[in-house]
């Protein structure tokens, strides 16, 4: 189990993620009850049904999933999880930036997958606010040191829309 870091502490995760097994179709899969994070394909195939049966809805974006394809639905999601299949796969940083900066997503933005201490600073900057730290890693040290690596930044990002050069005295 990953350790969910939120508001600088390890918290209990009320969400479960629906995984499509290989060969399993979004159309036929049983929708679990409770707080569920749905893969994009399931959301797209079962949108109306999910809205009528679930109060709290989450979305999982993976790999080349395009934010644009779900941009009109963002109001339905309490949480959007963005998958990092490997920590060196940086697509999720652009996905998060787009969700926050362009589509003004206000809900929880969660990093899942290969989430490690040394990427937390960048993840926070692009707009993540919860982090499913990989199992076996020291969450307390990560919380203590991972978010405050640098005290300033040159460029704009979700956490700082004004570049440093415009903030000079």
């Amino acid at each position: 189990m990953a350790q969910l870091i939120k508001n600088k502490s390890v918290t209990v995760d009320s969400w479960k993620t629906l995984e499509l097994a290989e060969g399993e179709a979004a159309e036929g899969i049983a929708l679990p009850e409770g707080d569920v994070i749905f893969p994009l394909s399931v959301w797209q195939a079962r949108r109306t049904e999910i809205i009528s049966t679930h109060k709290r809805i989450g979305l999982l974006l993976k790999g080349y999933d395009r934010v644009e394809d779900v941009a009109g639905d963002l109001e339905y999601f309490i949480v959007i999880a963005i998958d990092f299949p490997k920590f060196v796969d940086g697509r999720g940083y652009s996905t998060a930036s787009l969700l926050r900066q362009r589509y003004k997503f206000q809900g929880e933005l969660r990093a899942v997958g290969d989430v490690l201490h040394d990427q937390l600073f960048y993840m926070r900057r692009v707009g993540f606010d919860s982090y499913a730290l990989k199992d076996g890693k020291n969450a307390l040290i990560a919380i203590d040191k991972g978010f405050s690596t640098f005290g300033e930044a040159y460029q704009t990002a979700t956490d700082q829309p004004i570049p440093h050069f415009r903030r000079r005295a």
Binding site: D89, R91, S94, Y122, G151, A153, T156, I162
Partner: protein, 561 residues
């Protein structure tokens, strides 16, 4: 040159502290090797054949005498008394211990230096023309915008884990000296006359690169006013970060994405992305440009006239090859050759570093540059001081008059040091230098670029050498493939392979034959490249392979011997 202010200093110190912490967690086993690897690479630390290699950034090639003395100190204290200048404005140390690297980064931070993003799949060191700010053919000094790009790209949170490395080059001269056609983004500064008078901007070239799949870049935008450079770069990087291939490292560079989409479609996607970012807060301000540009104002030049130089043939040769026209009368830019025959091209000893720092202090306003041709430049030398500079440089082995000549070879570290290499490159360079050690002959041959890379990653830029040499591995033996006719500059293009590859000991003869064909066929005033363009590749090919057994015949010949 640019001097750090509080944020710049804070960030390099915090970076050094972060790396110390990472090394500690790696040693304790908390970080696995696979987890540590990209982190150390983004600080320029490789684990190589014999020892780690630390790559230090020299942003857009500018270095102060103080910084060079610090590099000399590091070479003496943590390495074996020398360093190596690369083809991308970096210095590499080949023998540090990993455990010492946090201390080295602390020493570097003291003099406003670092190894940030000198490797890894991120935005690398921005490179430019070594004569920036002083070249007679300069339209716009590229350094202020290069520094602005350096700051913007440093720890950019969205682009730290790209599909592959990403290199930006910027040029502000009529003749491109920054290989901008072969970078992920190449920027040509230019002026445009429009409705509101003169506007400064860039031609934006994307998707060039050497390496395994050499491709000349394509123009994505003919003119982009300078204020938009950061937002436009973000648009390019975002399209690449989202849609560049991640399934195959050899197909992950932006050039492959541009080829796959076609330049029109790629440009359309960039423009669509840019529409959201354009005129946003990351748009540059005149105030910021002026603040940074203020660091690059011309030094206090004296009003001089060009006097006569001492009549000394050896000195005159050096002046002819190793000085470059300066925009201020009475001054010249001096190239100190790191291509002394028999020494690894680009290598510089700690003693030489100290001497060069002294020369910079005494004769060139305390500043120097390094070039992508792996030499050191004193950019602002009075012509009346040239003779003194020459004598001192000569005594230190830094005055070989071979800039632009056959033995001024551009060469990667190759199989002697680099883990990626298929073949050694330094011994080939040295063997060719030994064959052409006669200065009269070297001057008679004239201008020619010889580039050697030890593998298809092309750190020695062999594709754009007039003569290019590429080390290849054939059945665990080292062989060398030769290309002809490549070139950098405005008419940049890739060389053509002349035929089957050669063994190491054949290489001096091969180059000798190529040169002989040129000498026999040249018209007066024709450089090697001119003759090559006129007569084509066949005469060279025929001579090099004349009487040479191939394939099975060659194997039989070898077995008989």
């Amino acid at each position: 040159m640019y001097h750090y202010d509080s944020i710049d200093r804070q960030l390099v110190r915090e970076r050094a502290a972060q790396f110390r912490d990472q090394v500690g967690r790696w040693k304790s086993g908390e970080l696995t090797n696979d987890e540590f690897r990209p982190l150390r690479l983004q600080n320029g630390l490789y684990v190589q054949r014999h020892a780690p290699m630390l790559r230090i950034a020299v942003p857009y090639g500018m270095l102060s005498a103080t910084q060079l003395r610090k590099l000399a100190f590091i070479a003496r204290t943590y390495d074996r008394g020398y360093g190596h200048f690369t083809t991308r404005h970096n210095m590499q140390f080949n023998w540090p211990r990993i455990e010492d690297c946090p201390d080295i980064l602390d020493h570097l931070a003291e003099v406003e230096m670092h190894g940030i993003q000198t490797s890894g799949n991120c935005i690398r060191n921005v490179t430019t023309d070594q004569f920036a700010g002083v070249a007679a053919d300069e339209v716009i000094d590229p350094r202020p915008l290069a520094e602005i790009l350096r700051q913007w790209s440093t720890f950019h949170p969205e682009f730290a884990f790209l599909p592959r490395k990403f290199k930006i080059a910027i040029s502000g001269t009529r003749e491109d000296r920054a290989v901008t056609w072969f970078h992920d983004i190449g920027l040509h500064l230019q002026e445009q006359n429009g409705e509101f008078g003169k506007t400064i901007g860039f031609r934006v070239i994307v998707g060039g690169g050497l390496g395994r799949t050499p491709i000349r870049g394509q123009i994505v935008r003919e003119f982009l006013p300078w204020q938009h450079i950061l937002t436009y770069s973000e648009a390019i990087l975002r399209v690449y970060n989202r849609f560049g291939r991640r399934d195959n490292a050899y197909k992950a560079r932006i050039k492959i994405l541009v080829q796959a989409l076609g330049v029109e479609e790629f440009a359309r996607q960039v423009e669509e992305e840019w529409a959201y970012l354009k005129d946003g807060s990351a748009t540059l301000t005149q105030a910021e440009y002026d603040r940074v540009a203020h660091h690059f104002v011309a030094p206090a030049y004296e009003t001089l006239t060009d006097g006569a130089l001492p009549a000394d043939q050896a000195f005159a040769r050096w002046v002819e090859r190793n000085t470059h026209p300066h925009k201020v009368a009475g001054y010249t830019a001096v190239t100190l050759s790191l291509k002394q025959h028999g020494v690894a091209p680009g290598d510089i000893s700690a003693e030489q570093m100290d001497l060069v720092a002294d020369l910079a202090d005494q004769y060139s306003f305390g500043e120097l540059r390094i070039s992508h041709e792996q030499n050191v430049i004193l950019a602002d030398v009075k012509k009346s001081d040239l003779y003194d500079v020459w004598q001192k440089a000569k005594a230190a082995g830094l005055a070989t008059p071979n800039i632009g000549l056959l033995t001024g070879i551009i060469c990667c570290p190759g199989g002697d040091f680099c883990d990626l290499a298929n073949a050694k490159s330094i011994p080939i360079a040295n063997a060719i230098q030994a064959r052409f050690d006669d200065l009269d002959y070297l001057f008679d041959i004239g201008e020619i670029d010889l580039n050697i890379s030890g593998c298809m990653n092309a750190c020695g830029h062999h594709h754009v050498g007039h003569i290019g040499v590429l080390g290849v591995d054939k059945n665990d033996a080292e062989f060398y493939q030769v290309t002809l006719g490549g070139r950098q500059g405005n008419e940049a293009r890739l060389g053509k392979v002349i035929g089957p590859s050669f063994a190491a000991d054949e290489m001096p003869d091969v180059v000798d034959k190529i040169i002989k064909v040129y000498i026999e066929n040249r018209h007066p005033d024709e450089r090697f490249l001119d003759t090559f363009d006129r007569i084509g590749i066949d005469p060279f090919k025929n001579r090099v392979y004349e009487g040479r057994a191939h394939g099975k015949a060659r194997v039989a010949q070898k077995e008989a011997a």
